[in-house]
């Protein structure tokens, strides 16, 4: 009797001891899994931030050096033509003398450069009041994800800078070198200079607006020669667009376009 009771007591004690032991093992396993998952997620987020802020910027800055040199070469090689321009129509007249109402009046002419191929660096934008743009940033033709990896791109459906119409340049604000990071600091009257094969085109800022990405009116022709810079807004979000409007005040075609 005594032996039996002793055995049953021992078995009960062993069972009591083993249950918390198993629980402890399970808890340890859970904590270890949770710990490694947290470390993994942390590294994933850290990698994302690092890639977006530093890796893209490093490559965009490296690319910009090469693209600026490419743009200089492009300036020398691109074909430039001189065509008649009728300021009142706000459009080009390809040598049609009938449209000129007064044959005695001197026909103003403007310089045109051939359209660059998608991905070609064809211009350099400089904004003296913004430190990172004071030295200039290469502008490539196209606004696809691929072309904008260089930082700033020209919308192909709009005229080239320095030509009649509204030329639109888009650029990254927080990644890929973030050339348009401080675009919100511009004020009316600030100077934007765009160098192309034709020479230096100087624009003066006329306004800044926050719009949605679908506000197509910002890229419409406003008459004369204008420049529109677009970038994401607010910083680290693609929810809205910060748009800077500027008008041509000086350059190779300014005299003909502005009628001065």
């Amino acid at each position: 009797m005594i032996d039996e009771s002793t055995d049953s007591t021992k078995a009960a004690t062993a069972a009591e001891l083993s249950t918390p032991g198993r629980r402890g093992t399970r808890l340890k396993k859970f904590v270890r899994t949770a710990g490694w998952t947290s470390i993994g997620l942390g590294l994933f987020v850290l990698g994302f931030v690092g890639q977006q802020l530093f890796v893209t910027t490093y490559f965009a800055q490296q690319a910009n050096v090469g693209l600026t040199a490419d743009a200089q070469t492009y300036f020398e090689e691109v074909e430039i033509t001189e065509v008649p321009y009728v300021p009142t129509l706000g459009s080009l007249v390809s040598g049609d003398p009938e449209i000129i109402t007064s044959p005695d009046a001197p026909i103003p002419t403007i310089l045109l450069e051939a359209k660059p191929e998608i991905g070609d660096a064809f211009a350099i934008i400089r904004i003296p009041s913004i430190e990172r743009l004071a030295q200039g940033w290469a502008v490539v033709e196209g606004v696809s994800r691929r072309t904008l990896r260089a930082g700033a791109g020209h919308m192909p459906s709009t005229p080239l800078p320095g030509q009649p119409g509204n030329s639109v340049i888009s650029g990254h604000r927080t990644t890929y070198g973030a050339p348009f990071h401080e675009l919100d600091t511009l004020v009316e009257g600030d100077i934007i200079e765009v160098e192309t094969a034709l020479g230096f085109h100087t624009y003066s800022v006329t306004g800044i607006e926050i719009v949605t990405p679908r506000d197509l009116w910002v890229i419409e022709d406003r008459g004369g020669a204008t420049l529109t810079l677009t970038t994401c807004h607010p910083k680290f979000s693609a929810r809205q667009r910060l748009v800077v409007f500027a008008e041509l005040i000086d350059g190779p075609n300014a005299e003909a376009i502005l009628g001065i």
């Binding site: 890639q51 606004v143 919308m155 990254h172 604000r173 667009r241």
Partner: protein
């Protein structure tokens, strides 16, 4: 990680090469994902469309 390498087929040098290839492919895929995610949500380049 050691267990993962040991599970790969072939002799040890092959296992190591396979593991290195898997790591490289994973890192490249991860960077593509980061790039897509970043240019979709954080900064599209400011295009109007």
């Amino acid at each position: 990680m050691k267990r993962l390498i040991l599970r790969l087929p072939g002799p040890m040098p092959v296992k190591i090469i396979l593991f290195a290839a898997i790591v490289i492919v994973a890192v490249v895929a991860l960077f593509f994902f980061y790039d897509w995610f970043g240019t979709s949500l954080l900064d599209t380049g400011g295009t109007i469309s």
